[in-house]
């Protein structure tokens, strides 16, 4: 199984994401944003957290126009898997691979703490190793995590079982406490919380590890 992790100027969770993929059995290649092609034979592309391009203009907006972005969109269009965390989720909405947008937190403050999420669907390669309705503790660290979308989009997300995770509390003002969503083909996941920061005992908990083992099990059987 092969994964690539994109690296933008200002990415700061790229190595954490690579470690989580490796621990789940993936060979991982880091791909610089100025590259125009992804490595061949990839199963999944990880879009990491951080502050790509200093969050200039809008979080993720410049990254969404960077040279590697075309290859990322082509990978998704071919049915490839994509996993965006935090700034990666923002980038995926800016590329329109996922609907909606992430606005400033309703409390206008940067929030860095561990929160409890509910796994809302196990019907995806990212979540199939979790129990339905499982409550998991995962850290968030963001200033723009307030998920907003129009009423039609929200109705589709709910109707098509595409809300992957919800916050138990409402830390950032997200509509319907949405923490992560899936694409229509269920192969693109974007989420604000950081499962890669809660994936081994030294992190203080391992609730995020099942996301990566879900992927490795799903992809090895694919």
């Amino acid at each position: 199984m092969r994964a690539a992790v994109l690296v933008f100027p200002g990415s700061n969770c790229d190595r954490d994401l690579a470690v989580a993929f490796r621990n789940a059995g993936f060979d991982v290649e880091m791909v610089w944003h100025k590259d125009t092609d992804l490595p061949g034979g990839l199963d999944i592309v990880g879009v990491p957290g951080g502050f790509s391009y200093g969050d200039y203009l809008r979080c993720g907006a410049i990254a969404a126009q960077s040279p590697i972005s075309g290859a990322l969109k082509a990978h998704a269009a071919r049915g490839g898997y994509v996993f965006g965390v935090c700034n990666g989720f923002q980038i995926l909405t800016e590329t329109r691979l996922l609907p909606g947008a992430l606005l400033q937190n309703a409390g206008v403050k940067y929030i860095c703490k561990t929160v409890t999420l509910r796994v809302e669907t196990t019907d995806s390669a990212f979540t199939n190793a979790y129990a339905a309705g499982a409550e998991i503790d995962i850290p968030i660290a963001h200033h723009e995590g307030n998920y907003q979308a129009d009423a039609d989009t929200l109705a589709r997300l709910r109707g098509e079982d595409r809300v992957a995770f919800r916050y138990l509390d409402a830390p950032n003002g997200s509509t319907d406490r949405i923490a992560g969503i899936l694409s229509e083909n269920r192969r693109v996941l974007g989420m604000m919380p950081h499962p890669e920061r809660r994936a081994e005992p030294a992190h203080g908990g391992t609730d995020g590890a099942a996301l990566f083992t879900s992927l490795s099990e799903a992809l090895v059987n694919a």
Binding site: E94, A106, D150, G173
Partner: protein
């Protein structure tokens, strides 16, 4: 030549920053500030002959996220 692009959150999209500014104005004793919306103003220095349609395309592709933001272009 110059173009000025104003980008604002769409009506109906909560603007927490504008809301915080409104509260702060009230705390300073400015009564009657009923709403504050904060946006961005982007000035573009452009080669002569650049059209408004080209600036609009810039807005659609990068300067605004039309999922949540509206924009206004003023040429010259």
């Amino acid at each position: 030549m110059r173009a000025t692009v104003t980008v604002m959150l769409k009506q109906g999209v909560l603007d927490p920053q504008g809301e915080a500014v409104r509260h702060a104005l009230g705390a300073l004793g400015f009564d009657g500030v009923e709403g504050v919306r904060q946006g961005k103003l982007i000035e573009l220095d452009l080669a002569d002959g650049t059209t408004e349609a080209q600036v609009t395309e810039m807005c659609e592709k990068l300067l605004a996220n039309t999922v949540i933001e509206s924009y206004r272009v003023e040429m010259g």
